[in-house]
Symmetry: none
Subunit: 472 residues, 2 copies
Amino acid sequence: MSDPWHSAPIEKRLLSDMPKHIETLKSFVSIPSVSTDPAYKEGILKASEFVAAELQAAGLTEVAILPTSGHPVVTAAWRHAPNAPTVLVYGHYDVQPPDPISAWKSSPFVPDIRDGRLYARGVSDDKGPMLIPIAVAAAYLAEQCALPVNMVFLFEGEEEVSSAHLEDFVREHKETLKADFALSADGAQWRADLPSVTVASRGICALEVTVKGPGKDLHSGRHGGSVANPIQALVALLAKLHTPDGAIAVPGFYDGLDPVNPNEVKAIAAIPFDEAAYLAEVGASEGAGEAGYTLLQRNWIRPTLEYNGIVGGYTGPGKKTVIPSEASAKISCRLVPGQDPDRIVALLATFLEANAPQGTRVSVKRETGGTPAYAVSHNHPALVLSEDVLESVLDRRPVRVRMGATIPIGDIFKRVLGIDTVFFSFSTVDEDYHAPNEFFRLSSYERGMVAWARYLGKLGETSATDFFKIKP
Amino acid sequence: MSDPWHSAPIEKRLLSDMPKHIETLKSFVSIPSVSTDPAYKEGILKASEFVAAELQAAGLTEVAILPTSGHPVVTAAWRHAPNAPTVLVYGHYDVQPPDPISAWKSSPFVPDIRDGRLYARGVSDDKGPMLIPIAVAAAYLAEQCALPVNMVFLFEGEEEVSSAHLEDFVREHKETLKADFALSADGAQWRADLPSVTVASRGICALEVTVKGPGKDLHSGRHGGSVANPIQALVALLAKLHTPDGAIAVPGFYDGLDPVNPNEVKAIAAIPFDEAAYLAEVGASEGAGEAGYTLLQRNWIRPTLEYNGIVGGYTGPGKKTVIPSEASAKISCRLVPGQDPDRIVALLATFLEANAPQGTRVSVKRETGGTPAYAVSHNHPALVLSEDVLESVLDRRPVRVRMGATIPIGDIFKRVLGIDTVFFSFSTVDEDYHAPNEFFRLSSYERGMVAWARYLGKLGETSATDFFKIKP
C-alpha cells in the first residue's frame, strides 16, 4: 500500500469522524470567550476548561490550565518519541467581541451551518483551526497508541488583546515548552483563491501624542489669534512625520533596516495579485503610500507610520467656536526587520517633543513592549514541509506571502525559546473574523485535518537531528 | 432730590428685588437650551416659552414666540412714548453645548452659587445679561406704569450657531422692529478690571472638511501601506492652510482687506494691556499667531483660521490598530473689514478640494450666511451715552475696545434695518462662557440692572430727533 505521508489510516478515521468533529466545534463556539471585555470572564474560563477536556480526551498528558496575570493558558504534551522532533502547537481560544450584534444573520454564539460554512464568532479565528491538531493527535493515539512526533500544546486566551501576558508565561515555562519549532494553528491563509504560506510578519510599536495649548478651552473669537490652537499645532507637528512622497520623515527611522533580499523582491513581484480587485474590495479609489514601492512591497516589507485616531475640540453635530486646550493622536508603526520597537518609539517621542510648535507643550505616552518584525528562515525544513503538505492537499504549490500585520508569537518564541514558527492555519482572511457573520469553511476544517495528519506523519519519519539536517 | 439719571426709584426697586431676579435667572439657566444639538430641541422650546412668560409678566405688549426656519425668536414691544427714541433690545436665550461635562465642578444645568458667582451653562452668555433689560422694563412699568422710551425686544435662539436665520427674520419683521438704534445685552465686557465699550467685532465664516479614504475601517497591519490613511491625509491637507509664520497660506485670503487706520493702531497700542497677566489667565505659556503683529492686533484687527474640532479613527481608551475610512475637521475664520464670509468659504473649499491627497476624496460642508466684521460709528450718540452711563456706574471712563469675536446682529441690523448697534452687556470675558464652569458675577447682574435703568432714564430725557441732534 502506497502511503507517501504515512498517515492514510489516520486520515480515513478523521474523515469518517467529521460529523463528530463538527459537533465538537459547534459546542466550542457556543462558549462566548471574548477576551477584551470583562463581562465575558465566565466564557473565557469555560472555554479554557473545554480545551483542557478535549486535550485530556485525546489521550494527551500533562494537561493543565495555567494562570497568567490575564487569562489562563491551556497546555498539554506527549513526549514518547525519543528521537523524533518536538513540535510546539500554538492556537488561541479567545475571540473578538461580537459587536455589532445586529449585523449578524444568526446569533454569534449559536452556531449555524449554511452552504457548507459554519457561522459563529471565533469559528475561523481561531477555534476551528485550533481544534484540528487536537483531533489529529486524538486520531493518532486512538489508531496507533502513539504520536509520530513529540508534541507540546499551548493555547492562550489573550491573542485578541495582543497576547499581553504570553511572553511572561513562555519565559516562566521555558523548560516544558522546549521544542524544535512551533507550528501555529493561527494565522489565516492570505486569500481564498490562492494557497499560501506566511513566512514573515511586520512588527508594531505605538504611542500617543498630546499637544496642550491654553489651560482651558477658549472662545475662538475672543482669543483667536492671541494664543496657539492645539489642533493647528498638532496638525503642523504630525505633518512633519511624513515627506510629501509618503516616506517617514523622522531622522533615523530607517536606520539599520536589514537589507532586502533582491530575490524576495522578485518573488513578491511574481505573486499573482489583482491590485484593482483588492482596491475594489477595500473601497479605495487607488493605492497610496511611500513612493517608489509597489502596493505589496509597501504592505509587506516597508515600515509604516499610521494614525489610528485623532481627536481635539468639538466633534459633535453642528459647531462650537472653541480653541480646545489640547488635541491628541494615536500613532502606531508597523516595523520591518532591523527596527527595534522601543528605539522607534523613543525616536518618535524625541522628534515630537523637540518640534513642539510655539506656545504649546507636547507630551508623548510611550507604549513599551512592542513587537519586532518576524521572519522564518526561507529554507527552514518545517516551512518547506508545510509547503509540501499544502501542495499535496490543495493540488497546487502554495506561494510564500508575508503579512503586513503582527503576530507576537513569532518574535516571542524566537527570543525566549530560540525556535522558529511556521504558520499552518486553515482559516482564510475572507472569513470575516473581526467582523459580523464570521464563518469557517467546513471544507477547510476537513482539509486541515488531512494536512495536519500528513504533516505530523511525515515529520515523524526522521529523527529530530536528521530532519533539520537533510532539508535544504 | 438729585437724580441725574432719572432712575433712582427704579434702581432702588431693582436692588431690593435682587433675590427674586437671582431666582428667575436660576430657573432660566436650568433649561438646557443648547442650539447646536438637535437633542436639546425641547430645551430650546422651553427657554423660548420662559422668555415670553417673563416679557408678559413684565407688562410688555405684543409678546410673541415667532417661528423661523430654525429656532424661534421671542419678541415684545412697548410703544407709548411718541416723541422718545425707540430702542431695539437684543439678546439670545440659546447656549453653548456643556461638553466636556466631566470638567464641570457642578452640573451645567443645575445652577450653583459659589463666592458670589452663579455657575451654569449660558448664565453669562447670555441668559444673565438678557434678563437685565426685561427686569428693568418691569421695574419701570411697575413703578411708573410707563417706560421712558419706546422699546422693542428681540431674543433669538440661534446666536451660538451664527444667528443663521436671524437675517431672514429681521427682513420679514422689518416694520415691527423699526428703531433708532439697537442696544445689545449680548457682547461681553473685555476685562473684569477695566471698564470698556466694544466698538467693533470680527466677522466669521465656517466650514467642515472631511477626507475619505477606504470604504470601510481597515486593520492597520493587514492594510497599512497599501491605501491612504485619511487622518494622515487630513493632517497633510490642513497643514497647508498656514505658513510656518502663522499667516494663512490660502491664496486670496487677504485680498481686499480694508486699510487699517493708523490712528486705530495707535489707539490699540495705548490701551492698558498686561499681556503676561492675560496669558497667565488663559493658561498659555506664550502668545502665538501671525508673525509681525502684537497680540491685540492679531486678536482684533487680523483675520484668523481656527480649528474648532478634529476627529477620526479610534479615540477611546487604549488602542485599536485601525485605518479609519474617514477623518474630519471643523474650521472657522474670524474676518476683518473687507472680507466677505461666503467668498472666504468658497476660497477655502476650493483650495481644500484641489489639494486632496493621493487616494482620498475631500468634501467640504460649506456653511453659508457667515457674518462680516462690524464697527459702530465712533461718535454715535447711543455709544457715547453708554460710555457716560458706564462711567457713572463703574467710576471710571470706559476704554473703547474691539472684539475678536463676532456678533452677527451688528451687521444684520445695519444692512436690514439701517441702524447701528451699541453693545451694553454685563458679562465679562473671563466668565468661561464657551467652556466648562461658566459663571456670571452676581455683582455684574446688579450693576447691569442699575446701568440699564440709567441708560433708559437718560435716553428718555430727549426726543428721538433731539437725541441724535445734540450729541457730538
